[in-house]
Subunit: 328 residues, 2 copies
């Protein structure tokens, strides 16, 4: 009898150890989803985008490999995407109807459900670092506008002249959008929305998610999309998964995309893949919304689900395999 | 055989009719949760608060009785609470650290998951009407600050001088808060947070929820709480329930209170009562957050769950029974 109990204990311990080792660490990023068609993208631009996605994800992966936290990986990876003029976040973000550039960002720590978010800042170089400072240095979750910039100043974050963020490409997109005054028919549709985001799980099994954006070209009336909304654009919970969204923000808020995926995993015991499929391919489409998510569950499985022709994305899974993709 | 099929059809039809009739219509409101203790409330103030809660809920109930929609009931009921200086919303809202008054509000329609939200407006007399106009007249969900006010002007909403919202009581609360610079020890703690909200189900079985607030006394850096956040402060879905939250907003965002209650009802098949109990008494408390919710499910069952000593609240259930309460 004793012998059997001993064997049972050994099996249990080994399976725990194997399980822990098997989980490993992993990371995924997106650079926006939309009507991204091969015929609209020059070979040169595609090359640049793929290169930047690979550069960014390698930085995050190295952090995780060197015992860094998933939160650190998310912040540093998103900073690289924000600094690149190729994506709608930080430098190169889209213009509002008033020809200003207003950034939104958010971050969430799956280990303690702490979160930070910011909207409508115009001079903070890396909005994701502001979201991080709000999460860790204030008793608040969500700060906005001039007030958020004042807080950024107090935290000694890097501020820049707002002209730093401007690019000719986005200015043309604004002119085009003003001509059309419609979001549906434009070769710039894929650029009207779009975001950057990162999800990661570190060696300790902690999940984190972050998202950053300039919002929507030609946005008016102080419009806020889903990117700074915890539960819509960003969500992380060690019990389930980490999610970052990109797409038509209004629908992502109404569908509570990020939290709904987590809730399906937690309460229906569905896989992350099936949960993301239900929310993006069924619920979101039924409402009329398009876009996608990147997500990682607490076993380090990566899911990239979108209902648009393309989503700029990259991942390095728990086996260390790199994947960089654009089209469906 | 035909006879049995006929009987079966009759039984099915009758049970549908009975079910429809049984659901009925109902409404619930809150005027904030917190350290509301009998010894801190004068008999006169308690009388005034109870009277205003009863007046407001009767207005909403009459709308529902006269075939009005749950959305109409939510808007008109909240307007009365906003117009009263007794609650932290509209007139009588709390002061920010800059001695301004900045309103947040949101509304959601459970029949189509449409939603509207607004933050940081200073001149819109009834922020809940602005949230309603955003939901119904714009392609956006969430508008902020000066931009939201510009939209309000275009919709011909009633604007007022910001001094209209000011009350001596809230000014004293700000002075007290500035002295303490702490949210934990103050007889004003119960007034630091607090919100008004309404949930309703109409005769057609459509659910709606709305929330309106001035936020948090002494709030800084453009702080946004949970009240304008769909999924945190407000959520409605005909498949499950309508929820309006009140309490320490940061924790309500992190716990995704309103959407999590809905998710437990939908995915775990729990009752609304059990779902609200788990989220407010277990999950929210574990994070360290205090406050409460009012909620109605799609069978017109009302739940009022809070983990604070008191919550200003009133309800009229499907039997037409009025309940007005303050303490636990």
């Amino acid at each position: 009898m004793r012998k059997y109990i001993f064997i049972l204990i050994i099996i249990t311990i080994s399976s725990c150890v194997i399980d822990k080792e098997e989980n490993g660490f992993a990371i995924a990023i997106h650079g926006g989803a939309g009507t991204i068609l091969k015929e609209n993208l020059t070979t040169e631009k595609e090359f640049l985008i793929r290169g930047k996605l690979e550069e960014a994800i390698q930085v995050g992966h190295d952090i995780l490999k060197n015992e860094g936290t998933s939160i650190e990986a998310v912040v540093e990876t998103i900073k690289i995407l924000e600094d690149s003029p190729l994506f709608n976040a930080g430098k190169g973000a889209v213009f509002t109807a008033n020809k200003t550039i207003e950034h939104d960002a958010s971050i969430m720590d799956g280990s303690d459900l702490n979160a930070g978010a910011t909207t409508s800042t115009t001079v903070v170089k890396n909005p994701i670092t502001l979201a991080y400072e709000i999460m860790t240095k204030s008793e608040h979750v969500f700060l906005s506008g001039k007030g958020a910039e004042k807080f950024a100043r107090q935290q000694n974050l890097k501020l820049v002249n707002s002209s730093y963020f401007e690019t000719e490409f986005r200015l043309n997109a604004l002119k085009q959008a003003k001509k059309n005054e419609s979001v549906t028919d434009s070769i710039y549709k894929d650029e009207k929305f779009g975001t950057v985001g990162c999800v990661a799980i570190d060696k300790k099994g902690n999940l984190a998610a972050g998202t950053s954006t300039g919002g929507m070209t030609n946005k008016k009336w102080g419009r806020i999309g889903d990117s700074p909304i915890i539960g819509a654009g960003t969500y992380a919970n060690n019990l389930t998964c980490a999610v970052s969204s990109t797409g038509w923000g209004e629908y992502f808020i109404r569908a509570m995309v990020a939290h709904d995926i987590s809730a399906l995993v937690q309460y229906k015991n569905l896989s992350l893949k099936e949960s993301a499929r239900i929310v993006i391919q069924e619920k979101l489409l039924k409402l009329g919304g398009d876009g996608g998510v990147i997500a990682i569950d607490n076993k380090a499985n990566i899911v990239m689900e979108f209902n648009t022709p393309g989503m700029y994305r990259a991942s390095i899974n728990k086996k260390g395999e790199l994947n960089v993709s654009i089209y469906n």
